[in-house]
């Protein structure tokens, strides 16, 4: 059975490479720009790493208005750029429209799903990684009060917050303080306000704070470091930023997803379909390195490993905010 499956996969891959367009990648960023210290910048990081590793050039386009996004995607597609990577989930309708017009071009949709054969949709199970860091936060907290600082009050951030709250509750936290930073694009790039909210949460007794707010998080981590409490980073491994303060980081590998999409396309192995990356696929994880080794006690590490194993195996289910737009906590 397995052999048969692999043969099918190999055949499909061959078929895909036979029709695949030439490797000539392009990225379309959202209006917050490629240096937004958040989703877009993670994609940028992955593409830059690919460029450094392989020497492959790529083109990009930053929309100034949402109306330009469709134009940008179509401009690349009509000139034979492939794959075209779209980082902003707000453009999934635009991407779907253009992808239908250019069935021979490969597309990548990050953080949302476009159901077309030439589109690879990459989503992440943020709730799983957030659950584990929430658990670690609660187990490491003395006050049993933990904080969460999000960027903007949008579904994807609620998804982080909901997973974190479930993990924290499982770890015995009695008070989970959740705040959002702002309501405009700058919400993800406002370190000063992030620091203020962190100070406020610590004033309410929180001694571990998880920032899922892009560049705003830099201010949160700094404030927490100044006060001597614990902080949790997001997206990339931020443990190195404040060794001894950074309890861990909830890594979400958008950069790896972009890198892999580029790699697959270059090697002619690009496939469409949905990739939903969780703990089991290493799409999200908690970071343990020499910077936070001393902060994670053997008991905490064992508990985190157990949760990770159970979630990966499916025996422990973390509620996904996106499944019903609700959070039980």
């Amino acid at each position: 059975m397995r052999k048969y499956l692999m043969a099918t996969v190999a055949l499909m891959a061959m078929a895909a490479s036979a029709t695949a367009a030439d490797f000539n990648p392009a990225i379309v960023y959202g209006t917050s720009g490629k240096f937004d210290k958040s989703f877009n910048e993670m994609a940028y990081t992955g593409a830059e790493k690919f460029k450094a590793d392989t020497g492959s050039e790529y083109r990009d386009f930053e929309a100034q208005a949402d109306s330009q996004a469709e134009q940008g995607i179509r401009n690349f597609a009509s000139r034979g750029f492939s794959p075209v990577i779209v980082t902003n989930f707000g453009y999934k309708d635009q991407l779907a429209k253009v992808a239908k017009e250019f069935p021979d071009i490969d597309f990548v949709m990050l953080d949302d799903v476009v159901d077309l054969p030439n589109v690879r949709s990459v989503t992440f199970k943020e709730e799983q990684g957030s659950y584990v860091v929430g658990l670690i936060a609660a187990l490491s907290s003395k006050s049993k009060a933990v904080g969460f600082i999000g960027g903007m009050d949008i579904p994807i951030i609620r998804k982080f917050g909901c997973g974190y709250a479930q993990g924290a509750a499982a770890g015995g936290a009695t008070n989970i303080i959740r705040n959002m930073t702002g309501t405009t694009n700058s919400a993800f790039n406002d370190p000063v306000k992030g620091g203020e909210i962190a100070a406020s949460q610590m004033g309410q007794g929180a001694d571990v704070i998880f920032a899922a707010a892009g560049g705003t998080g830099i201010g949160v981590l700094q404030k927490v470091a100044d006060t001597g409490k614990f902080a949790i980073g997001v997206d990339s491994n931020q443990n190195y930023m404040h060794p001894g303060v950074m309890l861990t980081s909830m890594v979400k590998r958008v950069d790896v997803a972009v890198y892999n999409a580029l790699k697959d396309a270059k090697e002619g192995r690009f496939t469409g379909g949905v990739q939903s990356l969780g703990l089991a696929e290493n799409g999200v994880d908690w970071a343990l390195d020499e910077n936070n080794r001393s902060l994670i006690s053997p008991e905490v590490e064992a508990a985190a490993a157990k949760a990770k194993q159970e979630i990966s195996a499916g025996t422990l289910e973390v509620h996904d905010y996106m499944s019903d737009d609700k959070c039980p906590l």
């Binding site: 386009f61 930053e62 109306s67 330009q68 134009q71 707000g90 949302d112 996106m322 737009d325």
Partner: protein, 367 residues
Amino acid sequence: MASFLNIRRIVDFAVLPLMNVAVALLISGLVVLFVGQNPLEAVGYLISGSLGSGEGIGFTLYFATSFLFTGLAVAVASHAGLFTIGAEGQAYLGGLGIALVCLSLDRFVPWYVTLVPAAAAGMLFGAAWAFIPAYLQAKRGSHLVITTIMFNFIASSIMIYVLVNLIKEPGSMAPQTRLFDKGGLVPKLGEILPVNIGTAPLNVSLFLAIAAAVFVWVLIWKTKLGFEIRSTGANPAAARNAGISYVKITIVCMLISGALAGLAGVNILMGDLGKLQLDFPAGIGLVGVAVALMGRGHPVGIAIASVLFGVLYQGGAEISFWMPNITRELIMLIQGLVILFAGALSLMFRKSVYSLVDLFRVSKPEV
């Protein structure tokens, strides 16, 4: 004497704006040169990308349509001496009204039936959002600049709440409504007229915007209310002495201003996106301020300035597409320079050009 005045008017409305834009482009060219790129190539893409093809023109006029709405909104208020920064938030809230009508009607009636109540709802929501700062200015003396800026932020907060909690398409990661059905989409110009604009989203809202420009011209220069507005703008104390109510003019002006801004959503939502999306105005309210300043508050001037900004938006996208080293930030810098020279420093060359014109006039009888 009359012809002399006319020459000065021509200088004010045609020569000076052109000079200002030219100087702005010249300095932008130096900046482009500074980052190691060819400025002539950039200007080439700017012009050919925005005006060189049917599709380019379609995009340029599509952007211009939005700017015309917000520019007129700012101009109406400015004639009463009110400097509003609130078009952004009013357009955003107006979009909510438009989307609500579209979402409830789009599956049952054709677009021309949806359009009327949708536009009305956009105007109503936009006007309502302008009413509060207007009331605070008129009755309490709270400065309109401050309150309208604050109301833009409050609008963002409200819209996030509404989009995420109330009208988001279930299961969608992006905070946006479902796509409008056919009845919620106004036709693109290419569908109803024998013009080829490719995939450009230019749509019938253009005519709505032109009608709004005519309305503003009639209102400001041909009606009693317009006279009262201009009197208040010229000298509020004198106008009050003449029996013109400052409270009434302030509030009426801002209601009209908000209604005009609220219409911008017809162009963006019903004409292009086909859905209500987070932060869809993306700065059109602020461009509206620049456009109104540049157009000297006159609908014709505003229309020209809107097209200019349409060129900068569409041509700017083309530049950053074809010349990757010219980033979006650099395009914004160029737009900023145009605003600086055409708006803030607009009268810098006036005196010297006037004396130049006068020279010709003096020498003329001697020929």
